[in-house]
């Protein structure tokens, strides 16, 4: 009986199960005693928040699908039927609708955390790349979900975005026909988008599982960006980080609730309250806010194929980021120049978002071109060179004993004289 697990749980039922299938031991190892760096700040809440958000989306989505009709003649009214006639349908639907925005807010902050503290660097490259896969899946899912209410912006957004693929030579038009299931955005498109919108979140769950599994192999990064060196550097995940994540969860839910209950349509577009009409193009076709930066990159290039490549490239470049950034220091705290440039990059992305919301004319074209240029410059030129030129600040000895090691830069006054009082 070599395969049986020696369970240490006292409860006989749990012990019986755990002996045969050691899931309790696994949970205890991965979420109970799991050694976690002791110096996390609240930025480290956002991975857990994103997981919770994914579950909220799946749960509300299941109940929406029970009442939704994926048919061009019925879809718009069926959503309003949910809003008006299904018990608490408005609540389920507004949670799902605003949940998409919350998911992107949380995920973008999570990504910023990774960029600022260098969480993508060795040995966490694969963990980071799985995260980029998650981002891409999220975007595909969100895009298809936005089509389902079959309002004006759903329809025209779907038309514009699917048409992007036609820019690719030879295969482009065939891909578009395949996406549409016909020769225009129509009922077959809505049907397959609904099917895929239901499927992809579960693929997402799978990739999130891999993301977390990879995280538990490498262990978490931390605000100092230095490796865990001794048990003194860590705390068991429970109760320290379960309770800290709970604090963040409550604040996150408060923001979420404020949106859902008091401004449910604040982030939406009025045009999507008009049923889809293939004969009438809206004055402005604008994607949801979380796609605006990419939309601005797309429109900043006069050539369609190049624009599409630049747009997809802006995401794909993240896959190779671990090798573009040549600095061996992870945390921006110890990289005086990177620490400023990462905020320039964030400003460029936000400015791109603002550009994406405006018609591509006048100053907005210029601004979006400048920002697109910086976006690429940052990753492709600055990061590879900066790693060689920048003189990082001296790194602390360890997480539990953040005394600055001698050598490198100047010693901050008094830093060495005050080791942490308690370990």
């Amino acid at each position: 009986m070599a395969g049986l697990h020696k369970s240490e749980f006292a409860n006989p039922v749990i012990n019986w199960i755990d002996t045969r299938l050691p899931i309790f031991t696994m949970m205890q190892k991965e979420y109970g005693v799991f050694p976690t760096p002791r110096n996390f700040n609240y930025f480290w809440n956002f991975g857990a928040l994103a997981t919770v958000n994914l579950l909220i989306m799946i749960l509300t989505g299941i109940f929406l699908a029970m009442n939704y009709q994926p048919n061009t003649l019925l879809a718009f009214d069926s959503v309003q039927h949910i809003m008006r006639d299904v018990n608490y349908g408005w609540l389920i639907r507004y949670v799902h609708q605003n949940g998409a925005s919350m998911f992107f807010i949380v995920t973008y902050i999570h990504i910023f955390r990774g960029l600022y503290y260098g969480s993508y660097k060795t040995p966490r490259e694969l963990l980071w790349m799985l995260g980029v896969v998650i981002l891409l899946l999220m975007m595909a899912t969100a895009f298809m979900g936005y089509v389902l209410p079959w309002g004006q912006m759903s329809y025209w957004g779907a038309t514009v975005i699917t048409n992007l693929f036609s820019a690719f030579p030879v295969v482009g038009p065939k891909i578009v026909t395949l996406l549409w299931g016909g020769f225009s955005v129509d009922n077959p498109t809505l049907n397959r988008f609904f099917s895929l919108h239901y499927l992809l979140p579960f693929v997402l769950v799978g990739v999130v599982f891999l993301h977390v599994a990879a995280l538990h192999i490498t262990g978490s990064n931390n605000p100092l960006g230095i490796d865990v060196k001794s048990p003194q550097d860590t705390l068991p995940f429970h109760p320290y980080y379960t309770v800290k994540d709970s604090v963040g969860l409550c604040v996150y839910l408060m923001v979420f609730a404020a949106l859902v209950f008091f401004a449910p349509n604040f982030l939406g577009d009025p045009n999507n309250f008009i049923p889809a009409n293939p004969l009438q193009t809206p004055a402005d076709i604008v994607p949801e806010w979380y796609f605006l930066p990419y939309y601005a990159i797309l429109r900043s290039v006069p050539n369609k194929l190049l624009g599409v490549c630049m747009m997809f490239g802006s995401l794909l470049v993240l896959f190779v980021l671990p090798w573009l950034d040549t600095s061996r220091v992870r945390s921006a705290r110890f990289r005086p120049i990177y620490r400023q440039l990462i905020f320039v990059w964030v400003a460029a992305v936000i400015a791109l978002g603002v550009c994406g919301a405006h018609k591509p004319q006048g100053i907005w074209v210029v601004l979006s071109r400048v920002c697109t240029l910086y976006y690429y410059l940052h990753f492709l030129v600055i990061l590879p060179i900066l790693g060689k030129l920048e003189r990082p600040l001296p790194l602390p000895e360890s997480i539990s004993n953040p005394v600055i090691r001698r050598g490198g830069g100047a010693l901050p006054a008094g830093a060495a004289a005050k080791p942490m009082e308690k370990v």
């Binding site: 609540l91 320290y240 400003a347």
Partner: protein, 253 residues
């Protein structure tokens, strides 16, 4: 680092200032006070009921509201008897009879609001080529919401000198392009209110927009009430969890 930050702040501020300058085109929206606009705001039910009177007597001649049922009128404070009376006064199609001929009859509270035209073509040909939009969601479906709809209803003026209005169209200062197919729907005294409220154009427009805002967001009052309780609960939970966190972490710090 300082000069960088201030440079960024400057770029941001410039962007924010520039944004409205590019966004503005046409007439500024009126800034009416609405009973439902604040965080705790509810619908002024008397105004909404007067608005429903205007919809029934004026708007419904051309505009459908097919997402609403007569039973929904309990949301603006009508009791079941009143709702029955309202629906019974309306004749709606009721499928076909035993010989297969279309049948009509008085509506019940379960019926959708009667649509004035059987189909889009009929609506278009009766209205000089333009389809009167369904009003169920009109307040949500326009940038500016209730203020925009109010602005349209009160925005009919004489065109400025030199502005040529096409035949069959009307000048409206709020409408994009200023030429609208809809003839001025409301004037001073278009309806007679039974509760002694003034039936000046401003009041009529205000009432019907209140009704339309309710129609677009009938869940709003319940939503805000639940929202207040949810936020209060979460504030309590945040405080509690934070206290627990401090306690748990007290041996680390």
């Amino acid at each position: 680092m300082r000069p960088f930050r201030s440079l960024l702040a400057g770029i941001f501020a410039a962007g924010l200032l520039a944004a409205p300058a590019f966004a503005q085109e046409g007439e500024a929206l009126p800034n009416e006070h609405w009973s439902f606009q604040s965080v705790f705001g509810t619908f002024d039910l008397a105004a909404a009921q007067r608005g429903f009177q205007i919809y029934s007597q004026v708007c419904s001649n051309c505009h459908s509201m097919h997402l609403l049922h007569y039973r929904d009128l309990s949301g603006i404070g009508l009791n079941p008897e009143q709702i029955k009376a309202v629906s019974a006064a309306v004749t709606v199609p009721q499928g076909v009879d035993d010989q297969g001929n279309p049948k009509e009859g008085p509506a019940t509270p379960a019926n959708q609001f009667r649509s004035p035209f059987p189909n889009e073509q009929a609506a278009r040909s009766a209205n000089n080529g333009a389809v009167p939009p369904d009003l169920s969601l009109i307040v949500n479906a326009r940038e500016g919401g209730p203020n925009y709809v109010y602005g349209i209803l009160t925005g009919y003026t004489d065109p400025p000198a030199g502005f040529k209005v096409q035949d069959g169209l009307y000048y409206n200062k709020m409408f994009p392009g200023h030429q609208i197919h809809m003839p001025p729907p409301l004037q001073n005294g278009s309806v007679d209110y039974t509760d002694g409220t003034s039936n000046a154009l401003n009041q009529e427009a205000h009432d019907v927009v209140t009704f339309l805002s309710w129609a677009a967001n009938p869940e709003m009052v319940e939503r805000k009430q639940i929202g207040v309780r949810v936020i209060l609960f979460l504030m309590f939970m945040t405080g509690l969890t934070y206290a627990v966190k401090r306690k748990v972490w007290s041996d680390v710090h």
